[in-house]
Subunit: 207 residues, 4 copies
């Protein structure tokens, strides 16, 4: 298998598992200790569903972007491998931060804030990791696949990295005020990315 | 790796993990709190085995159909990627709905109904997601692989999508009356699909 | 991706996840409720380590044999896909039966027997599923890869299937008498298979 | 799929799952039993984050090295398959030993020592398994890919294997004195490997 092929396989595996482990955050109310109806107990879990949906979309978009970056590469070196590992380190933490946020979303305001800060902080680290990986390969024309224009790739770095980091920095600020609003902001960012990426445009052309 | 290849790898990963996480719904009776024999305790867990078997077959058939759809494709675009993500979002929820149904299958009638409605509702959403993905690619001849007849593909949409959605709508109705019958209906649908797909026929010809 | 390629990817995924989920059966003694030393508490968990080792080797050998069977195939049909699903259905159950056996290995004799019977029964079903898959493809020369001799393949069926089924039937009998002996028998079978398959010979030649 | 390709896929799957299961060691403090603030409760879990980071890097490096070894191979035989399984057996145990070490890192000194010894012992077994796999293929020129110099491969064995085993033996010794220092030693070894492998040099040239 080629070097990029195997890195993609491993990354896809980690992303696929991380996205699937999110389901472990959806907990079945225990039958023995159920008070009232199951429907009411499930409805009370709305933070878990909202967090599941949001994190699923985020990891899905990470996968789509990871995919787009690796399509530009003809080969990878050791630094790329380790930057990729750092990115995956943050992705693997997402099921934990998702469970944390859904457990504390409606808790006492200081604890909800802590959970939202941790959730947003890991997303910020993730976008930073992505920016580092993207910047590294964009500045090494030798790693790019044939026919990929290094200038166009470099030009797209600033926007891609800056937008992601700025958006997640924004969620850190929102987390200070309201955990539910912070989760909503993450969901809106994820939906924005979905639609922005579906729409054809200059960026879609290169990535 | 090709675009369709990597999407298949990621989807296969998610499907493989979702199908394997079903085993977490099979719980070992704790030795310290066991009343009576282990055999009796295991026998009382029959809803868990029935739900495991049913959900395993359903995810298996999803994989076979996913496989069949992607064999028709020569390339994919961003919309296909996101429709695929939506489909996976419902598939990843299956281990949760399976655990829910097996926990409440023999519970108070209103809670059993809730669990059966959630289980059937997610399956309905899954068949809807599949129909959307299938309909999208079938109407874009540019995405189809060489030698695939767009007309034949479109002709098979109505039956494929309508049958799936109709069957799962049926299970939602059955869920209103009896959770065990609803699970049985899901099992029969899964077995029907297994045999229908094994038998050669006009649909098997295209997929 | 080719049909056999994607089936192998999916199967490899399920096998890899099943083998890795075995680790969930190794439980960390809770610090708050620990009586005596951690070393003693870990030592008391020997059934879990023995069951982990045994099931790991068994799934590893299943993977090696699955690998060997699919190397003989040039293409697969729907029946092969579903026979493969049935085989995977039993493999996915192994982490559950492993946890069950390790929890009850040293329990009251009737409960230990139940656990050993369930463990051996699932292994018997697995060897039956494997035999069915192997027998099916061996009798369909059109599915075999170029250069594979259908006669040699058929000749190896009887031994391969019969030996596996006979050995696991033997463990069912042993389970009636002693759960620890039954686990030991499974370990010895797994080790036998490891060494038998490493040694070159007529069977290794075809599979 | 080629023989080496499928072994890489299976190994990548196991490594990807093992690395992702590490997240299960990060536990969300239960809201109902929380004393004090969530921030304080999360801060008290620092051993879990330190162990997560360390084990993540270690498994990441295992993947990079596994990758490097398999790039040297043109084909594999049954013994390679089983040596690879033995290596994976130790890797799969890492999420368990990581959870054990993070639970007992700050516990009574004898229990912390036990946990650190188990953690270091499994890493030592892993480096032993890797050395065995590497030594086996290095002594079989028939397994090497075209253009790979068997002499250069053999020359790198001693350093590669000896360094790994010596380092992990060192951690076993440190475990006898201090569990936190032992975890720190593992983290430093992991970071050393990261940087050593990024730096170009004679070993990086062959692997």
């Amino acid at each position: 298998m080629s070097e990029t092929g195997r890195t993609e396989t491993f990354s896809d595996g980690v992303l696929a598992i991380a996205v699937t482990l999110l389901v472990l955050d959806l907990r079945v109310p225990a039958r023995d200790t159920l008070h009232g109806s199951l429907a009411a107990a499930l409805a009370r879990q709305w933070p878990a569903y909202a967090a599941y949906l949001t994190s699923f979309l985020i990891i899905g978009i990470i996968w789509v972007n990871h995919h787009a970056v690796f399509e530009l590469l003809g080969r990878i070196d050791r630094v790329t491998l380790f930057l990729n590992l750092v990115l995956l380190l943050t992705v693997v933490a997402i099921p934990f931060t998702t469970a944390l946020l859904s457990e504390y979303l409606t808790a006492r305001v200081d604890n909800a804030r802590t959970a939202a800060l941790v959730y947003s902080g890991v997303m910020l680290a993730m976008s930073g990791g992505f920016a580092a990986l993207y910047a590294y390969v964009a500045h090494r024309p030798a790693l790019l696949a044939e026919g990929v224009d290094p200038k166009a790739v470099r030009a797209s770095i600033v926007r891609f990295s800056a937008v992601g980091i700025a958006l997640y920095l924004g969620t850190v600020v929102i987390a200070l005020f309201s955990a539910p609003l912070c989760l909503l902001a993450h969901l809106l960012i994820a939906l924005y990315y979905c639609f922005q990426q579906i729409r054809p445009g200059p960026r879609t052309g290169t990535a």
